[in-house]
């Protein structure tokens, strides 16, 4: 892998973010809007004495961190869609750029964008609702890393699916993470799910990340069990996503799809 080629991919998407109002909207607008709505909701619950303060913290924290997860997964896929929409794939892959360099560049630039969105939401939560997530970030770091790792696996998987099925399935870029939200136990504990769904939820790293963070906030200590499950599942899904991606990329070359994708 050559650093200058990874930087070129990052530069290409940096320019796109600067020129494309949609990318600015995706990066900042939605995370900020989410935190504003949830902030007002928690104010309402607090004022009517219907909620414990640690639950308020968790709702706002979960909103911010789910936003990070969702944005990273979505932007990975949308970044690749940008190449399809602009019919730029032939230009890119007729250079020495390797697929691993391309994906690394895409991952790094979208991680940065997701961090910008998260920081904007966190600053609003701090300024408007006196919820300061920054000291918690260090404590939550292993769980946040797990969320990022899973978002990466999903981003690679959805990008691979778009390689195979082209823009016919581009809606997955925005909807795939959303499909997982009800069973990821973002805003409620695992035990509140119907029994049949708990097994599904247990197989998602997001469930373990949010359960682990909830335990920490509730003063029940750091759950190595949840972290172990989260990281183990992350590794499994990431390996599967990379395998699927490599296979569909080679298949796209064999079937001549790389030069026909739009």
């Amino acid at each position: 892998m050559k650093r200058h080629r990874i930087e070129a991919v990052m530069l290409r998407h940096f320019y796109e973010a600067r020129r494309n109002a949609d990318r600015i909207t995706d990066m900042v607008y939605w995370p900020v809007l989410d935190i504003i709505v949830w902030g007002f909701f928690t104010i309402y619950l607090t004022n009517s004495n219907r909620i414990r303060p640690d639950i308020v913290s968790f709702l706002l924290g979960a909103t911010i961190l789910w936003g990070l997860f969702f944005a990273f997964q979505r932007d990975m896929a949308v970044g690749f869609l940008d190449e399809l929409w602009s019919r730029n794939l032939i230009n890119l892959f007729s250079t020495p750029l390797g697929v691993s360099e391309y994906m690394t560049g895409l991952i790094l630039v979208n991680l940065l964008k997701a961090m910008v969105g998260m920081s904007a939401a966190a600053l609003i939560a701090w300024a408007a609702y006196s919820f300061n997530i920054f000291p918690l970030l260090l404590v939550f770091l292993p769980f946040i890393a797990s969320l990022i790792f899973f978002a990466l696996a999903l981003g690679v998987l959805v990008t691979g699916m778009i390689f195979r099925f082209t823009t016919r399935i581009q809606g997955l870029a925005w909807s795939f993470a959303g499909l997982l939200q009800p069973v990821s136990c973002v805003f409620y504990p695992l035990k509140s799910l119907p029994r049949g769904l708990r097994a599904v939820a247990w197989m998602l790293p997001t469930t373990h990340a949010f359960e682990g963070m909830r335990q920490l906030l509730g003063g029940q200590g750091f759950s190595l069990r949840h972290l172990g499950w989260a990281m183990g599942l992350d590794a499994l899904y990431f390996c599967l996503a990379v395998l699927v991606f490599r296979r569909v990329f080679e298949s796209a070359r064999t079937r001549g799809l790389l030069v026909k994708l739009e």
Binding site: H4, D82, S86, N88, S94, E250
Partner: protein
């Protein structure tokens, strides 16, 4: 030989797009790949760039197998085609900056300025690609194609959208690159007069197979089956296409 293509075959299911094509290109040579639509020219170029995996056959460039040395080969190769677009929201300068970095150009600003000057698009540097005419877009493609000063340049109908004056500029730039730096060029075009003037040799493809190879005059004599003093590729082309239809 700079490029050696042996028995190159590409099948898409039951359809054979390229069937056992072989040819070679000498260093500093301009080789024209001719043929009607669907003859397999573009698929052949895509295989030479590693964008499409051949079903069979071997491609060697700079003495290296493309299968095993894609990265080293593409560092010294480049390509352009007016039908391939650039990210349309990015400006001309931004797009060229990205490609300069992809090729690891040491002094990108100077290189880009020189290329934009060569193709007279310096005044367009801050314009988004979406606001360029087809001809301007083609000239940006030429800047990108010469960015890494390639030893091998693959051009798929490079003058398709250009007016005669700009097409002349592009041809001059290519001939200059060949003369000064020994650049090897693989060229497809439907402008047969241009091919006659530009190419040292021609490989004529039809239905994915080589039906004739040689200099423009040799191709003319071989396909028309008569003595000629001047190449007449248009006549050759019509003979091949009408022969196939009959």
């Amino acid at each position: 030989m700079l490029v050696e293509v042996e028995n190159l075959t590409k099948k898409f299911g039951a359809f054979t797009a390229v069937g056992g094509v072989s040819f070679s290109i000498r260093r500093g040579e301009i080789l024209g790949l001719l043929g009607p639509n669907g003859a397999g020219k573009t698929t052949t170029i895509h295989m030479i760039m590693g964008l499409v995996t051949p079903s069979a056959g071997e491609i060697r460039i700079f003495g290296l197998s493309l299968r095993d040395h894609r990265e080293q080969i593409l560092e010294r190769t480049n390509f352009t085609c007016p039908y391939v677009a650039f990210p349309y929201r990015l400006t001309v300068l931004e797009n060229l900056n990205v490609f300069a970095r992809l090729y690891g150009i040491a002094e990108p600003r100077r290189r880009i300025a020189a290329l934009m000057d060569r193709f007279r698009i310096g005044h367009l540097k801050d314009k988004p690609i979406s606001r360029l005419s087809s001809g301007e877009n083609t000239r940006v493609g030429m800047c990108k194609a010469l960015m890494n000063d390639p030893a091998l340049l693959l051009l798929d109908e490079p003058t398709a959208y250009l007016d005669p004056e700009t097409a002349w500029q592009v041809k001059e730039a290519l001939l200059e690159a060949r003369r000064d730096r020994g650049m090897t060029i693989l060229y497809t075009s439907h402008n047969l007069f241009e091919v006659e003037k530009m190419c040292d040799r021609i490989v004529f493809l039809h239905h994915g197979k080589v039906i004739a190879a040689g200099s423009p005059i040799e191709i003319t004599q071989s396909i028309l089956n008569e003595e000629r003093e001047e190449p007449a590729l248009e006549e050759v082309f019509m003979r091949v296409v009408r022969g196939a239809e009959a």
